[in-house]
């Protein structure tokens, strides 16, 4: 199939449609508007439904309703709007419903700005809403990867009956790159045993719910969720490594930042410094174990983020005190430059010798 030049936000929409998503509920917020706009145009063409909700709170509850019927459904927003969705996300996770939520992250806190950021890492991977729950969090770094991961997100959501978040940023949403939509089979999953699809031949109604007033029942429910999260952790961790064998310093970066780091590696090589990169693709579950492969051979780790230092905490857990872990970040919509990162690497190296 021919490559198409597409904006990240629009490519997400097309990928979702190709994955069998026929329902989209959204609300305007920059820098993700092209996605609902694309869906408002495309979904009616294929017999799907687009609704612009009255708020992000309403949109995520529309997702809750549609996901409760076992349908493939998606919503998208950007940071402040994702904060508003947290109540619904917790209910969706608690009720074990499959859906895909896209966050095209902008700088915060509060109303913040509209430029790219990665400061919603904690919110996405450590909860965000209340209760013991996890989202599967996928972090693409190119428009093509975004397309592939969006399609995969729907399969993962269905397989585990769990919400999946695509964590992009304003840069990925706004930029254009060539993409190819690979023909893939839509994995139809039969949800009729739990979804609210009408009584049919069943004797008992299916109930979608996250309320357990009996503490023992709720604890049992939490154990069940935890077993599912353990299974996801065992099966679904994704990451890439570049140049990590015998690297003096290993950088850890995801999404847009990982691309920038890829430009730093050859720049450092010219200065005689061997750098590696670990790029987590699943931010939850985080690829803790891969660090074991390199912790003995490298001198230090450097987490590079568009935040004040969030993923670095997971890097520290992974490295577990065996080597120094450093952090370099820009925030508020400022983007780390290859030069800035290299300067930081040299500083870290100087500190080591």
């Amino acid at each position: 199939m021919a490559r198409k030049l597409m904006k990240g936000n629009e490519a997400i929409g097309e990928a979702a449609i190709k994955a069998g998503c026929h329902l989209f509920f959204g609300y305007p917020i920059t820098p993700q508007n092209e996605l609902p706009e694309y869906m408002s145009k495309r979904l009616p063409e294929i017999g799907g439904t687009f609704v612009q909700a009255e708020s992000e709170v309403a949109a995520i509850n529309m997702v809750y309703g549609a996901a409760g019927t076992g349908s493939r459904v998606m919503t998208s927003s950007s940071s402040p709007g994702i904060s508003l969705k947290q109540e619904g996300i917790s209910y969706i996770a608690g009720s074990e419903l499959p859906c895909v939520i896209v966050n095209i992250v902008r700088g915060g806190p509060g109303l913040g700005g509209i430029q790219p950021a990665q400061s919603d890492y904690f919110q996405s991977t450590k909860g965000g809403g209340h209760g013991d729950y996890k989202l599967i969090v996928l972090a693409p770094s190119t428009v093509q990867e975004m397309v592939d991961l969006v399609q995969e997100a729907f399969d993962l959501a269905d397989k585990y009956r769990n919400p999946v978040m695509i964590l992009g940023d304003g840069m990925l949403g706004q930029m254009m790159e060539p993409v190819e939509f690979k023909e893939r089979e839509i994995k139809k999953v039969d949800h009729s045993s739990w979804a609210t699809v009408g009584m049919g031949d069943r004797e008992k109604p299916n109930i979608v719910n996250s309320l357990y007033l009996d503490p023992q029942e709720l604890e049992d429910h939490n154990h069940k969720l935890q077993r599912k999260y353990d299974e996801i952790t065992a099966n679904e961790i994704r990451y890439e490594t570049y140049n990590c064998e015998n690297a003096e310093i290993i950088l850890i970066a995801y999404g847009t930042t990982a691309r920038i780091v890829q430009d730093v590696i050859p720049m450092a090589k010219e200065k005689g410094i061997k750098l590696g990169l670990i790029k987590p693709i699943t931010l939850w579950p985080f690829p803790y174990d891969v660090f074991n492969d390199y912790v003995d051979s490298t001198k230090a780790f450097l987490s590079v983020e568009m935040s004040m230092g969030q993923m670095v905490e997971d890097v520290k857990l992974a490295v577990n005190g065996k080597k120094p872990v450093h952090f370099y970040g820009r925030s508020g919509g400022m983007i780390p430059t290859p030069e800035g990162i290299l300067e930081n690497v040299i500083e870290v190296l100087g500190g080591l010798e």
Partner: protein
Amino acid sequence: MQEAAHGRAPAVATGIKRAIPESIVFTYQGDGDLASIGTAEIIHAAARNENMTVIFVNNAIYGMTGGQMAPTTLPNQRTTTSPRGRDVSSAGNPLKMAEMLATIDGPAYIERTTVHNIKGISRTKKAIQKAFQNQVDKKGFSLVEILSTCPTNWGMTPVESLSWLEDNMMEYFPLGVYKDIEEEK
């Protein structure tokens, strides 16, 4: 000045007014803000008859985010999220906020005006003045809904947009005083 989250200004204003009742508090809200995400806040501020002033600018579209359908977008009006025109059967009907809020017992004064011509501008000035005077006189919740243009997102010249407002918006959103406790006395 305090900045409020999208839609939450009447709640923030309530907090300020309750903390310092003698301060003059007003909110300045657009249609996407007041009539969509902020409907709960505006309805309940009106129901409590909070002694505040609300300036509500209605231009039938989301401006800041680039021209999406607003709750006040007219039937068949094209926007970036209603590319074939607003289809009321799936996208719902426009909300007439002044009329809706006037059905609540609380508010002191609710009027809809326009700023697309000189007459409208001078009427709007008077309405705003009254809405603030009511607050000074502790009469309660006052709201002025002001019809306004958005040439950029309507895809029109400023002059075209003035006539579009007159020919289309004013028919759907009639001007007038919807509530005035003075006159009810």
